[in-house]
């Protein structure tokens, strides 16, 4: 076995730190009053210096409030997504860089050594050290009350736990016996794997450290069953509901739920500065207003938001554009990062055995794909701005090849009809519709989650195309929950949903979306469930192509070289494209993004997706600033 040491050095860290950071006006009064230490004492010894000029942006000035509109309390996590402060994070070129960490070393994807920034502090001023990692690992992840079924998936490889070591107060190491290549990407993910927790704060809820009577009182006051429920509730980092929970993100929540209006305030101990030595973020506060989501486009058009994309749809674009000058904002169009805006998912686990046989016939799936006139759909519904493509990666991904996008996506009804005849659907009824081998009419009922009006519009057009193939298509919207259950139980023969969630991957991302790994993959829910439950539930994969995908995924996990990972990705993409497991229609659709005219550094064109861009997160909203007088 060849041992290779891969050291990631962050060039930015080598820039000598001018030790004269400028005080932020927001905190000036507090510092003068002695309530807060001066900025030099708040920053770590080596803060992360963000060189804005090098990024092609302008360094700015602090101040202002970012107004955003959200639906309900669950949307609090949007701030965690937009903030995007992670141990390691992706930059705009999707390279992993140290962020909260000062540096990190990886050996064979098995030994991960993390170096923290000396002097880095939580938002309440307490030091952030190896103890916070130790607390999470020993007192949370390994605690059977908090994690009844063992540590989270990203921390175990085939059920095997890592060896955790504290080297010194600023260095920790995780060692697995077999490679865990998904570890760093999951730390960098939009919904990251949290492997640290503010130990100094949470120990008061843990019976190993807390006074028993005190803790019992707290449990009683919170109306929860026991300490574990209290600990769980107080320690949510992804959805920052607890205003007392210290954080490392640029903004911290100051409002206790329930509320309709949440205010986030800048974190005085945040670890990033700009090249001029100004502590980031530039924006002082976030004001999040909750309300009816259907009203959000109207409110945005009346100028109630400074930077908003969530709950805005492409249909709202012209409406938003109308009020652009009156209400002092601009509307940009960002590219959505789905593999397909809407894709047909033939359910290979359908309960109806006749249909199952047909759906598993690749000729049938290819025929449906060839029978869709994507060009018309693009022109009718997206003004021709979308890209006609199968459900695969976008051209922005280094893994993209045109043949994945173009496989069986040309409009060819004659060929489609031939394939359908060959697939055993050659008999027709008196009105020309195809019959199943058992004599029933081959009507395709496509179910949708019913929440996305564009799906209905697309299905309307696809239905017209399919009638030329002698197939009748019905659209059946239902509630998302019932929809999911009906798919897993096999009652649905075909569904429509978004394609690949992350369609701009690089080879360091795990290709799990291309193999049956989750119940939420509507083309093979039972196989996915089988994988998720380690063979306890669902059905084992019983077609060779899907088995091959699973084997390739295993190979990616064991791969030692980047090149091998690349080749696995390519094979998996190629199999998916050739087998048409999902029938993609269009991708590269546009997401309207409303930006206040005074807000600087917001890119005009960018990728908008949950993964990998964490919505705005990848573009560092802590570097956005208001060019306004008096602020």
């Amino acid at each position: 076995m060849r041992v290779r040491l891969v050291a990631f050095l962050v060039a930015m860290l080598l820039v000598p730190q001018a030790r004269a950071a400028t005080e932020t006006p927001y905190f000036a009064a507090k510092v003068a009053a002695g309530a807060l230490p001066p900025v030099d004492a708040r920053l770590p010894e080596h803060p992360r210096v963000v060189d804005l000029k090098a990024m092609g942006r302008e360094p700015g000035k602090p101040g202002g409030t970012w107004h955003m509109l959200m639906g309900d309390q669950r949307d609090l996590r949007m701030v965690t997504l937009y903030s995007y402060a992670r141990l390691v994070g992706f930059d705009t070129k999707l390279k992993l860089v140290a962020d909260i960490l000062e540096s990190f070393e990886v050996q064979d994807d098995e030994v991960f050594t993390f170096h923290l920034r000396k002097g880095h502090r939580w938002s309440d001023g307490e030091p952030f050290t190896a103890e916070d990692f130790r607390y999470y690992w020993e007192d949370v992840a390994l605690n059977t009350k908090l994690y009844p079924s063992g540590p989270e998936m990203g921390l175990t490889i085939g059920g095997e736990k890592p060896k955790f070591e504290v080297i010194d107060p600023w260095t920790v190491r995780y060692t697995w016996a077999s490679p865990n290549p998904a570890f760093l990407p999951s730390l960098a993910g939009p919904q990251p794997l949290y492997i640290y927790m503010p130990a100094h704060y949470l120990k008061q809820f843990n019976p190993r450290y807390a006074d028993k009577d005190e803790l019992a009182k707290k449990v009683k006051a919170a109306h929860v069953k026991d300490w574990s429920a209290l600990h769980e509730r107080m320690s949510r980092q992804y959805r920052p509901e607890n205003p007392d929970l210290p954080t490392l993100e640029p903004w911290r929540n100051t409002t206790a739920p329930p509320a309709d209006f949440f205010v986030f305030e800048r974190n005085p101990y945040y670890h990033r500065v700009d090249e001029a030595g100004r502590q980031l973020p530039y924006i002082d506060k976030i004001a999040m207003m909750l309300g009816t989501t259907n009203l959000i486009p109207a409110k945005v058009a009346s100028g109630d938001a400074d930077l908003q994309a969530r709950y805005l749809n492409f249909e709202d674009y012209t409406f938003l554009k109308q009020a652009e000058t009156v209400n002092h904002y601009r509307v940009d169009l960002w590219q959505q990062g789905y593999g397909s805006r809407a894709a047909l998912m033939p359910n290979l686990n359908a309960a109806d055995l006749v249909w199952r046989k047909i759906l598993r016939d690749v000729q049938f799936r290819r025929a449906l794909s060839l029978g869709i006139n994507r060009h018309d759909i693009n022109n009718v519904l997206f003004f021709g701005l979308a890209r006609e493509s199968g459900n695969t990666v976008l051209p922005d991904s280094p893994l993209f090849k045109p043949e994945y996008a173009q496989a069986y996506t040309n409009y060819d009804p004659d060929e489609a009809n031939k394939l359908l005849d060959a697939a055993g659907l050659d008999r027709r009824d008196t009105s020309g519709f195809r019959l199943l081998p058992d004599g029933r009419r081959a009507d395709i009922i496509v179910e949708t989650a019913g929440s996305d009006p564009i799906e209905t519009d697309i299905l309307e057009l696809v239905g017209d195309d399919f009638s030329k193939l002698g197939l009748h298509l019905y659209n059946h919207p239902s509630s998302r929950d019932a929809f999911r259950q009906r798919i897993t139980s096999g009652q649905v023969i075909m569904s429509m949903a978004q394609g690949l969630d992350n369609a701009v991957p690089t080879r360091v991302f795990e290709p799990d979306a291309l193999a049956p790994t989750s119940e939420a993959q509507f083309q093979w829910p039972l196989w996915g469930l089988n994988f998720e439950s380690h063979g306890q539930q669902g059905e084992a994969v019983d077609i060779p192509e899907a088995q091959q995908l699973l084997d390739l995924l295993k190979q990616w996990r064991m791969a030692k070289h980047g090149d091998e990972k690349q080749s696995v990705w390519e094979q998996m993409l190629s199999i998916n494209a050739q087998q048409v497991f999902t029938i993609g229609i269009l991708n590269g659709t546009q997401q309207p993004v409303v930006v206040d005219q005074d807000l600087r550094n917001v890119p005009e064109k960018a990728l908008f997706s949950f993964e990998p861009s964490s919505f705005f997160g990848l573009y560092m909203p802590d570097t956005f600033w208001y060019d306004r007088k008096g602020e």
Partner: protein, 331 residues
């Protein structure tokens, strides 16, 4: 009278028991629960739902127990004044409903008073000036108010308020007061925003009430005692108020029963459209996400208010109109 009251109060117990059973059954009818719903929604956005976390929550909220057991746990809690726990908000239901209840009551009471203030004078005028132009005109207006759905009116209001006057859309107060404790400034801000929902919710009620007042009064006005009173030279206004109007009030009193629950729940649809911080949107959202204890406890609360309201209106009727007897059938 006391016996009657005791009997009515005792009947309330089985009624509420059945209501609670129906509510619980209906909420549990869908083949899923809050957690599967939550997981489905999270995954639809590309996020990963941590199954071990979900298992933890399910266990904590007793979802590993059979429904019957959960039902009795819930009812036992209700009897102790414990309304259960909202999954969505991760808080006791009592805390979630909290302030919203007061705001809802404020909106509802204002609406009711608005309705009365507008409907009674118009109704009386229409009845006393039957088939005049004013009667036709006001009746048409009332019918229009009755015919236009609340939420549509709310949408129109919002659109024009925004495009003509530049008013912000929705809300019951200026955003900066949302988390602030109650103060004079906050109250003033609420009152400044209150009139829009009051008018919108009030129009339909006003229309209906105008028609009822008019019809009931017309019936009385044609009776002979009115003619006699007039013939004897009683002042017309006193004639009207002393007898026919009081008699025409019976319908109004019996209506109180249905007013009580609506005071608490508010007009859900309008509240959603206008983003009001009232209980209506809370209830609808809880039902959508199957946040069962929040929804169930709230519906139980409404059911209790309905039953109490009916009782109150029955008793009030008996006091107001001696012709009505409480014990039926003892002729």
């Amino acid at each position: 009278m006391l016996r009657y009251l005791a009997r009515r109060l005792l009947i309330m117990i089985p009624t509420l028991f059945f209501t609670s059973a129906i509510i619980f059954t209906v909420i549990n009818l869908p083949p899923s629960d809050y957690f599967s719903n939550y997981v489905a929604e999270i995954q639809a956005q590309g996020e990963k739902a941590d199954t071990s976390r979900i298992d933890f929550l399910k266990k904590e909220y007793g979802f590993d127990k059979p429904p019957v057991q959960r039902y009795f746990l819930w009812v036992a809690g209700l009897l102790h004044g414990d309304y259960g726990y909202s999954f969505e908000y991760q808080l006791p239901v009592r805390d979630v409903v909290g302030d919203r209840l007061y705001l809802t009551m404020l909106v509802s009471f204002s609406t009711i008073i608005f309705t009365w203030l507008v409907a009674f004078p118009i109704g009386i005028y229409s009845a006393t000036h039957q088939y005049s132009w004013a009667d036709y005109g006001l009746t048409t207006l009332g019918l229009l108010g009755l015919a236009i759905p609340h939420f549509l009116l709310a949408l129109l209001f919002m659109y024009f308020a925004n495009s003509w006057f530049g008013l912000s859309i929705g809300g019951l107060m200026d955003p900066r007061y949302l988390n602030a404790p109650m103060s004079w400034d906050k109250l003033r801000s609420i009152l400044a925003h209150l009139w829009i929902p009051v008018i919108i919710i009030g129009t339909a009620g006003t229309g209906a009430m105008i028609r009822s007042v008019r019809a009931n009064l017309l019936e009385e006005l044609q009776k002979q005692y009115v003619t006699t009173a007039r013939a004897k030279g009683l002042h017309p206004f006193r004639t009207l108020m002393k007898y026919p109007f009081r008699l025409a009030m019976n319908f109004f009193i019996s209506d109180i029963g249905s007013i009580l629950p609506s005071v608490v729940s508010g007009a859900e649809l309008v509240a959603i459209v206008l983003s009001l911080q009232t209980t209506g949107p809370l209830l609808v959202h809880a039902l959508q996400t199957q946040d069962m204890y929040l929804a169930g406890s709230f519906l139980m609360f409404l059911a209790t208010l309905t039953i109490v309201g009916v009782l109150i209106s029955d008793i009030a009727l008996a006091f107001l109109d001696p012709r009505i007897r409480l014990q039926g059938g003892s002729r």
